[in-house]
């Protein structure tokens, strides 16, 4: 999710709405909502419907039908130019029991997500906290930190990363310059994964801008009251700032997670998934099975496993959010 300077207000509004709406939707309240939707239009006006029609058509043609289509494909042995035979759960049992590439790819993906998402959020919050004071040049720093988020997805930046971490690249020259030995970044699994992790962390600006907007909207009188009561700054941070930020943290967490699971450009260009598949994230694997080998049934099954993982983690986040996300002036259950 890209963000934009000053746009935090809107993003926060999304996060407030996202929470109850999606939760209800996911828990199968569709039927109830559909009914209520139909009852609401007492006068039977369909005017608004015509404006929304493009979205509805797009939803059906480009999202809903492909969504179900890939579920169907995942139960077949479909290959491009060949027919599809229904093979039941075979793809899934293959993936989960005998596909070593999947195993490797899955664990690398989990490591990648579990490292990048918390670190990126923590760093974004830390810098936003520093920026959130009467500093001169705050606009300049905000812009400087935001630029990598704008450019980070570009192939050009991935190319830059490749040269930076090359054997005689910028990073190694700096290391040798201060007396360290140069590192063969792309030569061993740990450091190769580190380079693509760093590329994602480098783009912490979008999350930071959202945090900053949220921090700036916190009522200053709360801190004054806390100070009068003798609360130390760190106490005020944990008792005021953090609780009021939880909706935004929640929003950033979900968005960053969904994105991190889909990272493709970085590993594809920088490391090509190697060495020893140490940066072979699942989207790379899916891409190669689907569009290089054209085994689209099998690729769909992998995509659905990935989707299930994202869904489960999202649901855990939603369920747990009842205990840690605080909505000011809101009595949502």
């Amino acid at each position: 999710m890209p963000s934009f300077p000053g746009g935090g207000k809107h993003v926060r509004a999304i996060s407030n709405e996202l929470h109850p709406c999606l939760f209800g939707w996911l828990l199968g309240l569709c039927a109830g909502q559909l009914e209520r939707g139909f009852c609401m239009s007492g006068d039977g006006r369909l005017l608004g419907f015509w404006y929304v029609l493009p979205y509805l058509l797009g939803l059906l043609i480009f999202t809903a039908i492909p969504f179900l289509g890939s579920l169907y494909l995942s139960f077949t042995d479909y290959r491009l130019m060949q027919g599809a035979n229904y093979i039941g759960l075979e793809n899934y049992t293959d993936i989960l029991t005998s596909d070593r590439t999947f195993n490797r790819s899955f664990s690398v993906t989990m490591i990648y997500v579990l490292i990048t998402v918390p670190l990126k959020l923590a760093f974004a919050l830390f810098i936003a906290g520093i920026l959130n004071s009467k500093l001169k040049g705050i606009g300049f720093f905000r812009t400087a930190y935001y630029v990598p988020s704008i450019l980070g997805g570009s192939i050009a930046v991935a190319v830059l990363w490749r040269y930076m971490f090359a054997d005689t690249g910028l990073i190694n020259m700096m290391l040798t310059g201060i007396g360290f030995e140069s590192v063969n970044w792309f030569g061993n699994p740990g450091t190769a994964l580190f380079t693509i992790t760093l590329l994602r962390l480098w783009q912490f600006g979008s999350a930071m801008v959202i945090f900053l907007a949220a921090l700036q909207s916190i009522d200053k009188s709360l801190y004054e009251a806390a100070a009068i009561d003798g609360a130390k700054p760190w106490r005020a941070f944990f008792a005021i700032t953090l609780p009021l930020l939880t909706p935004v943290i929640f929003f950033n967490l979900i968005m960053q997670m969904v994105q991190a699971f889909q990272e493709f450009n970085g590993p594809y260009v920088i490391t090509q998934g190697g060495p020893l598949k140490s940066t072979y994230l699942l989207p790379l694997y899916i891409y190669e099975v689907a569009f290089k080998k054209f085994e689209m049934g099998y690729a769909s099954a992998i995509a659905w496993v990935l989707f299930a993982v994202i869904m489960v983690l999202t649901l855990i986040a939603f369920w747990s959010s009842k205990h840690w996300v605080y909505y000011a002036g809101d009595k949502r259950s």
Binding site: C21, G24, W25, G58, L131, L135, I155, F264, A303, L306
Partner: protein, 300 residues
Amino acid sequence: MSDGILHAEAIENAERLLAVQKRRETVSLAIRYTILTIVGLIMLYPLIWLIGASFKTNSEIFAGAGFMPQSPTMDGYAKGWETSTPYTFGRFFWNTFLIIAPKTIFTVISCTAVAYGFARFEFPGKKILFASLIATLLLPNVVTRIPQYLLFRDLGWLDTYLPLWVPSAFAGDAFFVFMLLQFLRAIPRDMEEAARVDGANSFQTLIYVVVPMLVPAMISVALFQFMWTMNDFLGPLIYVSSVDKFPVSLALKLSIDTAEAFEWNRILAMSVLTLLPSLVVFFLAQKYFVEGISAGGVKG
């Protein structure tokens, strides 16, 4: 007398406390600036180095960590522009533009209409449609990509830009609908109601009343779509296969895969050019956002 001494002591104490507090604030400020500057330098140095290195000779690029070229040369730009394909980078920029322009226009029009429908009308199924909008925000594209590809193949759209254009005409990016919706909600309905009383239909109201107020938001939608599409790699990678139709992202990938890979300055120079439009647009977008939000505040 003792009262006077006490009084003087109290003032002295207070002054000392104030001085301590001031010093603490100064130290805290210094620490903040130091962290911000160091982090900022680390963040931006790769980009600064990239720009510097694009003017270096090949032998110099991997010879030192500094960014200032010893003997600046435009060689990388001149030769990189020619590429190892029969086409110049100009062709690839033009292709990128051909992808971006319709996509951006379609996005702005369709998302505005849809956001207007959601914000200003009640209709059957609105709630579930709205919920689906939120759900698509979270739906990973990876699940729908393969059937979409098969659909576009059956339509005969492979190796054209249609798979990249058409979904945007159907408000394909839920995020933008959301953004416009938030702007719309902040705009009071008085003017629209006045227009309706004067006999304008809903479409006229949209065009003559809502759109003028929504222009800043629409511009930011356009600028964001521009930057996303500029960076998009996987879409063209899947759908565009002829080199003469490549956008810059694919062309750049092609150049690092071919023999050109050893002509570092050419690739770095083309990387700079690839990033340039997004950078320029970003600085424009920043201005527009500030203006858009303050204008909305005045009108709202």
